[in-house]
């Protein structure tokens, strides 16, 4: 066998193989999706984790204390607004409320009373909340929550 012929055959075979490789590469050419999938997955996991940690939120609307000023002439014609007053205080490390009856009662009892009120009576009623300095905010919100469920309007005093 001619050695020159063998060399030529080997060269042409190698060229053909190379050609096939190029074609294969050309066929697979396109955007590499792997990095995009990586990033998308990380963002997805982040959102899932943050949503679980944060928890859904909503809000309770409350009127702020009114500015105390001299009433003008026109306000004499205004109809009196029905106001239920709740004064929160701490006694024996428990939250009590003044204003529902003659003596202080626990906040749980007040919440229960509000829940048991007739809707026709409680609807539109203004609950004025006043609290001592040491009353925790969570107690005020729980009272506000009960009032909101009874369709009351809440105002801080």
């Amino acid at each position: 066998m001619n050695p020159l012929q063998t060399k030529t055959d080997a060269a042409s075979k190698s060229r053909a193989l190379n050609q096939r490789n190029v074609l294969t590469r050309t066929a697979r050419f396109g955007p590499n999706m792997t990095p995009m999938v990586d990033v998308t997955l990380v963002i997805l996991i982040f959102f899932m984790a943050s949503a679980t940690i944060a928890g859904p939120e909503w809000f309770l609307r409350a009127d702020l204390p009114e500015i105390e000023e001299q009433s003008d002439q026109s306000s004499n014609f205004a109809l009196p607004t029905p106001i239920l007053s709740a004064d929160l205080l701490i006694r024996d490390n428990q939250v009590f409320v003044n204003g529902f009856g003659n003596e202080s009662i626990s906040i749980e009892s007040v919440i229960q009373r509000i829940a048991n009120m007739e809707p026709a009576l409680s609807n539109g009623l203004i609950l004025g909340i006043r609290a001592k300095d040491d009353v925790p905010y969570s107690a005020i919100v729980s009272l506000h929550d009960a009032a909101s469920k009874a369709k009351m309007r809440v105002a801080f005093r």
Binding site: F59, L60, R61, D133, P136
Partner: protein, 138 residues
Amino acid sequence: MKNRSIISSNGAGARINVTPMIDVVMVLIVFYLLVGQLALDRKASIRIPGSTSGLEEQQTLDPIIVGITSEGIVSINGVTLDQSLFIPEIENMHARSPGTPIRLRADRDAPFGVIRPIMHAMRDANIPRVELVTEQRR
């Protein structure tokens, strides 16, 4: 053995494959941007109280978020403020956009003694009402 170097030696000139680096940098940027925005109140460690009733989000305007920690540290939209600076700041913000809702994110353990002055300050700024942010408990 297959060459796994990041310096590609294919072709005429060797070059560094920067794709993994861009991936990582992009992820870090996005992560910090989002965490920075979402955790504004977490930085101030506010644990809001829960409620079984409430109003769902309806506003299209971005609300003004007033944060109060259990220690009485006050912030507006995540920026901590001295109480003396709170009144002019909230006044300015409310005057610029009077229709913007104001949400109060106070810590559940905060005593009312630290919340009352903030409410009074907001009342003095002619803000008629606030929205108390709570966690949904159904």
